[in-house]
């Protein structure tokens, strides 16, 4: 599939730290985040003007699902915009909680693990052809997903009985299955959830739940860019090698503990590859593939970056200390240890590991580096700011976004999900859009025209639309 829909759902960690004796449980603190969002929808679950969905998910995590995006670049900009939206809400909520007489700090982290071993995810969604056999797709994709953490990992400081270690990935330790249908226990590399929010005859949804949440724009872009190139190769039946790992779940954990990225993994065929070698195989195939098949410029760029990153990992990983999250963070911590003459077991080190992911830019260490020009960016602040309110213009999100703006302007009751708009007093007018590539269905256009023309109050609208 050359044209594809992309989406990312990011679950954030949240904690309230009181300054005095009075405290606030997290399930109450999180409600303040939603207070600022004006909507007629359910509390704790809203669609925003930019087409995204923001809601409280399992385990009291604020979750931001990007709108449907049409390219990796658009997707990563929208994922960043989600951070910025949450940052605004955090500032508002913290002040509000203070006004309620509970001074303290509300911290929100874009990471995937807490201190005692709980995990929350970053789920990538790719729309794929229904024609492709799912198990073929999964088998081809799993070796790639297991080994890609060497350039997509967000890094983690990890305490075991024999000391403190630095791991490549946040999420890898929480994976127990190759493929499964659950997300809260027995987490898998690929989840079988098949809700395409589109025509089921044509499309299915690939739900990848193995990835880390990324702070670095570069890491995030290469994560989605390379995965969609590999997907396209699989859809075109281009991959003719068998990389099936003997034990993918063990491999994913072995790799995260191996910061050299060079320890060998055993394949079903008996051959052995290091994660770098395995990725090189995929990357070399991709290089040939993009010469022969129509591929977008963005994907070509992703392949180029991929090769560069693998070369660096092979020869001098520190060359990636401006680009790849786990290496940026490791360099930061190493320099801190060096400067302060301390060690990896210093609590400050664990704090840095966490605070790197703080989305509040005045506190977050990733943003401190960004401000000082110490990390490479791919996008501008203007692009990210625009995505806070503007939906992607070439997907269904555009219609949703326009509808929300107008409905709010005219105080119209509505309720939404990804492919439905319901409106009117009894929410009895329903517009269905099953095509995620559709940017303006006649039904919605008509509805919008009616709203614009008549400037109707809530009371008479539903009737009018039904009659028309």
């Amino acid at each position: 599939m050359q044209k594809r829909i992309y989406g990312v759902e990011t679950e954030y960690g949240i904690i309230f730290t009181p300054e005095g004796r009075k405290t606030l449980p997290v399930e109450k603190a999180i409600r303040f985040l939603f207070e600022k969002l004006i909507t007629t929808e359910h509390f704790l679950n809203v669609f925003l003007e930019n087409g995204a969905r923001f809601y409280q998910d399992t385990g009291c995590h604020p979750e931001y699902a990007t709108p449907e995006c049409a390219s990796p670049k658009q997707l990563i900009i929208h994922d960043k915009a989600g951070e910025r939206i949450l940052e605004d809400l955090q500032l508002y909520a913290e002040a509000k909680i203070r006004e309620e007489g509970i001074p303290g700090k509300l911290s929100i982290f874009k990471n995937n693990t807490d201190f005692v071993g709980n995990s929350y995810g970053c789920h990538e969604n790719y729309l794929v052809d229904r024609d492709v056999d799912f198990y073929y797709l999964a088998e081809q994709l799993i070796p790639f997903l297991v080994t890609r953490q060497i350039y997509t990992g967000a890094g983690k400081v990890f305490q075991t009985q024999d000391g403190v270690h630095y791991c490549v990935s946040q999420r890898a330790q929480h994976i127990y299955q190759k493929i499964s249908g659950t997300t809260t226990n027995d987490r898998s590399i690929i989840n079988t959830r098949d809700e395409p929010h589109a025509d089921r005859e044509k499309y299915r949804r690939l739900h990848v739940i193995v990835g880390d949440s990324n702070m670095s724009e570069y890491t995030n872009f290469i994560k989605v860019g390379t995965c969609s190139v590999v997907l396209q190769m699989i859809e075109d039946n281009y991959i003719n090698k068998d990389f099936t790992l003997r034990n993918p779940v063990k491999a994913i954990k072995d790799i995260t503990y191996d910061v050299t990225c060079k320890r060998k993994l055993r394949l079903d065929s008996g051959r052995e590859y290091s994660p770098i070698e395995m990725q090189r195989e995929y990357c070399e195939m991709a290089q040939k593939y993009i010469e022969q098949y129509p591929v977008s410029d963005e994907h070509k760029l992703a392949v180029k970056m991929w090769q560069y990153v693998l070369d660096c990992l092979d020869t001098d990983p520190n060359k990636l200390d401006r680009k790849i999250d786990w290496i940026i963070k490791r360099r930061l911590i190493e320099s801190y240890i060096d400067r302060h003459g301390t060690s990896w077991s210093d609590p400050k080190v664990f704090m840095m590991d966490l605070q790197y992911h703080d989305i509040q830019r005045d506190r977050g260490l990733y943003y401190l580096l960004e401000r000082n020009g110490a990390v490479d960016r791919l996008f501008t602040d203007e692009e990210v700011d625009q995505a806070k309110t503007e939906p992607p213009q070439d997907t269904r999100a555009r219609m949703r976004g326009e509808f929300i703006k107008l409905a709010r302007e005219h105080s119209i009751q509505y309720d939404l999900d990804w492919s439905n708009i319901r409106l009117g007093n009894l929410l009895n007018v329903r517009v269905i859009c099953n095509n995620p590539f559709e940017t303006n269905t006649e039904k919605v256009a008509e509805l919008v025209r009616t709203i614009q023309k008549t400037n109707l109050r809530k009371t008479s609208l539903s009737k009018l639309v039904i009659q028309s």
Binding site: E11, G13, I14, I15, T17, D57, T58, G59, C60, H61, E63, K73, D114, F115, V116, N118, S119, Y120, G121, H123, T183, T184, I209, D297, E298, K300, L301, K304, M305, Y308, V309, N318, K319, D321, R322, K323, R331, L332, E334, S335, Y336, D338, R339, P347, K348, F350, M351, M352, L354, Q355, D362, R363, L365, L368, L369, N372, G373, A374, D376, L378
Partner: protein, 88 residues
């Protein structure tokens, strides 16, 4: 879009030098070695290198100060209390 592609096509050349070089001593050694002890033998390149090294070191110092100023003071307690319910 074309601008985005062109701008980022050359991976290694568009990024500035790593700020961490000063901390690891890589840059310091280089500047001393190239500059030499005697000012008479200092080449222009050496001077530049030394200057660059110093700049990086200054950047690094201010960066570290900034980190100290924002890093959570009660690190041990904060990290210990950072317990989330499992998500998805």
């Amino acid at each position: 879009m074309a601008r985005f592609i062109n701008q980022h096509s050359r991976n290694d050349s568009n990024s500035s030098a790593s700020i961490w070089m000063a901390a690891s001593g890589e840059q310091k050694k280089k500047s001393k070695g190239d500059g030499g002890d005697s000012s008479e033998t200092e080449s222009e390149g050496g001077q530049k290198m030394a200057k660059k090294g110093e700049e990086l070191k200054e950047d690094m110092d201010s960066l570290m100060e900034e980190i100290d100023s924002v890093l959570e003071e009660n690190a041990e307690e904060f990290v210990k209390n950072y317990v989330q319910r499992g998500g998805q």
